[in-house]
């Protein structure tokens, strides 16, 4: 393990990626995540076996990711909302070709060019596949600097294990913020499990094809069902969440990433004012951690979903809760960051209603 260091989120992600065996990075500049490609370019300049290319576009960079992933390398690209929209073509292909890759989205305000302030309005895009076709991308949502480091390692491992693209979904604020981090030891790239599907030249073996075209519908259907079965296994294996002060809670706030930290601050405030509030923080957004939330929902008076968007994850929460308790939403889209005080106010007003109802 490394010594404790104070680093901004984008740099934490870059360092963690390198320590996870990432040896290829392809990207295109966009605020607020430019410090990540900058970190990769300077770090890789000192590593003869590593490749950094600043591509001419997001499209080119995600397709370079496809090429590098084909060879068996651990590869990453990063961007922010508008750029990630452009990458969706390649992400769909990665899913279909069953190629591992790590894609980082440091979300900013949208739609369109939006702004560069932190936001969470790409939840639908991230968790519903994002591009064309029937597929999903594993989506990890860190909330702390240390978690950025840990989830980056996890992202590369999951991508390889399931041969699937993995997205790390952060936001502009998370990328800029510095927190103390302890890095895990670097992996030995040569000791990683061999990829018996990689394209390296057909030396002493039959030639290999990596493809996504299956003109024969039954063949394409077969691929789709294979992906579905894989997604079922992933859902079973990796779904994860933080459950905080929920044991005696009457109101639970559901939030992820930066919003979850603001929500946690709000929970502290209202607890000190006598409202029994807790926090449920999904750490995997796809697969969404439905099970624990569903289980606790029958004992709750209310669930409040808080997002830095106009309401996206709230749909997954409602699907999980299936009407067992009321679910309401509070959000600020467009890059506006709520304060814990503001969220505490919302919780308090719900708390008052809960008291009234039970009286």
């Amino acid at each position: 393990m490394s010594a404790k260091t104070l680093m901004r989120g984008t740099h934490v992600l870059g360092e963690a990626a390198i320590r996870s065996g990432c040896r290829a990075y392809f990207g295109y500049p966009i605020t607020p995540q430019n410090e990540l490609p900058e970190y990769m370019s300077s770090a890789f300049a000192k590593m003869p076996d590593a490749v950094f290319v600043q591509a001419e576009s997001e499209l080119a960079s995600i397709n370079m990711v496809i090429g590098a992933s084909c060879t068996g390398a651990r590869v990453m690209t990063s961007s922010s909302s508008p750029g990630v929209s452009l990458k969706q073509e390649g992400i769909s292909y990665l899913a279909a070709m069953e190629l591992p890759a790590v894609i980082v989205n440091m979300m900013r305000g949208g739609p369109g060019l939006g702004n560069i302030a932190p936001a969470q309005s790409d939840y639908f895009q991230a968790t519903r596949g994002g591009g064309h076709g029937d597929y999903r991308v594993i989506v990890l949502a860190p909330a702390y600097g240390q978690e950025i480091a840990d989830m980056t390692r996890q992202a590369f491992d999951l991508a390889d294990k399931y041969r699937t693209p993995v997205m790390i979904l952060g936001d502009g604020m998370m990328g800029q913020m510095m927190e103390p981090v302890i890095f895990p030891d670097p992996v030995d790239v040569n000791a990683l499990p061999a990829k018996d599907w990689a394209l390296t030249g057909a030396k002493d073996r039959p030639s290999r094809i990596i493809r996504s075209l299956w003109l024969d519908p039954p063949k394409e259907e077969e691929l789709n069902w294979r992906l579905v079965r894989k997604y079922e296994v992933i859902t079973e294996d990796i779904t994860d969440q933080e459950i905080y002060l929920c044991d005696d809670a009457e109101i639970v706030i559901v939030a992820y990433g930066t919003a979850a930290r603001i929500a946690k601050g709000a929970v502290h405030r209202v607890r000190s004012q006598g409202v029994k509030a807790g926090l449920y923080r999904p750490k995997t957004l796809w697969p969404f951690p439905s099970h624990e939330l569903a289980a606790m929902s029958k004992d709750l008076h209310h669930i409040l979903v808080f997002e830095m968007s106009a309401g996206q994850m709230v749909e997954d929460v409602r699907l999980s809760v299936e009407g067992r308790c009321p679910v309401s939403f509070y959000g600020r889209p467009g890059g506006v960051v709520s304060t814990p005080e503001e969220i505490a106010g919302v919780l308090n007003s719900l708390g008052a209603n809960v008291v009234k109802k039970s009286a």
Binding site: K4, P180, I262, H268, E341
Partner: protein, 181 residues
């Protein structure tokens, strides 16, 4: 204990550096810290601010809706942040650039001519460390030793004289705060 502080001013006053050194020192005292800088277009306008939280427990929100402390290095920053300070909190004002007073009476003020103090010791650019010394002495967020070490670590690789100058500026600030209680 969990204390939040916003440092604000214009570009070139070393506002982000103040926050970074404070957070670094807090980390080395094994405290939980967050350092949240302003970024992007906001920075291009010439203003700078950052929020630092130093806490004995895990930090929930790195955003300070009502910080205990605010440092305003220039007048626009005082106007921008005066209403955010927690009631009973402290606003540190650079009195060389701010002659006005915030328009509320429920906060404490500490005024210090940090440009002058830095200039008098031949270290014009170290005004940020003078202010940080004042903040440290008044708030007790982190220890003097931790700050001195943080300056050394943060400026690692720079000229020794620069490190010493910044450390001296920090101590000058601490002394000023003690003498002007």
């Amino acid at each position: 204990m969990s204390l939040k502080i916003i440092f604000s001013g214009f570009g070139g006053q070393g506002v982000l550096m103040m926050g970074y050194v404070l957070a670094f020192a807090g980390m080395n005292e094994d405290k939980h810290v967050t350092f949240l800088p302003s970024y992007g277009a906001e920075v291009r306008g010439g203003t700078a601010n950052c929020t630092v939280v130093v806490s004995d427990e895990e930090i929930a929100s790195p955003i300070a809706s009502a910080p205990e402390f605010v440092v305003a290095m220039n007048y626009p920053s005082m106007i921008k942040y005066q209403n955010m300070v927690k009631s009973g909190g402290v606003m540190f004002l650079n009195s060389d650039l701010i002659s006005e007073e915030p328009s509320r009476g429920d906060i404490n003020l500490f005024r210090a001519p940090v440009n002058t103090l830095a200039h008098d010791m031949g270290a014009d650019r170290s005004l940020n460390m003078v202010m940080l010394g004042i903040v440290a002495a008044k708030t007790g967020m982190v220890s003097r030793e931790a700050l001195l070490l943080a300056i050394e670590k943060v400026l690692q690789g720079k000229k020794k004289s620069l490190i010493e100058m910044n450390q001296k500026a920090l101590e000058a600030g601490m002394n000023f705060a003690t003498e002007n209680n």
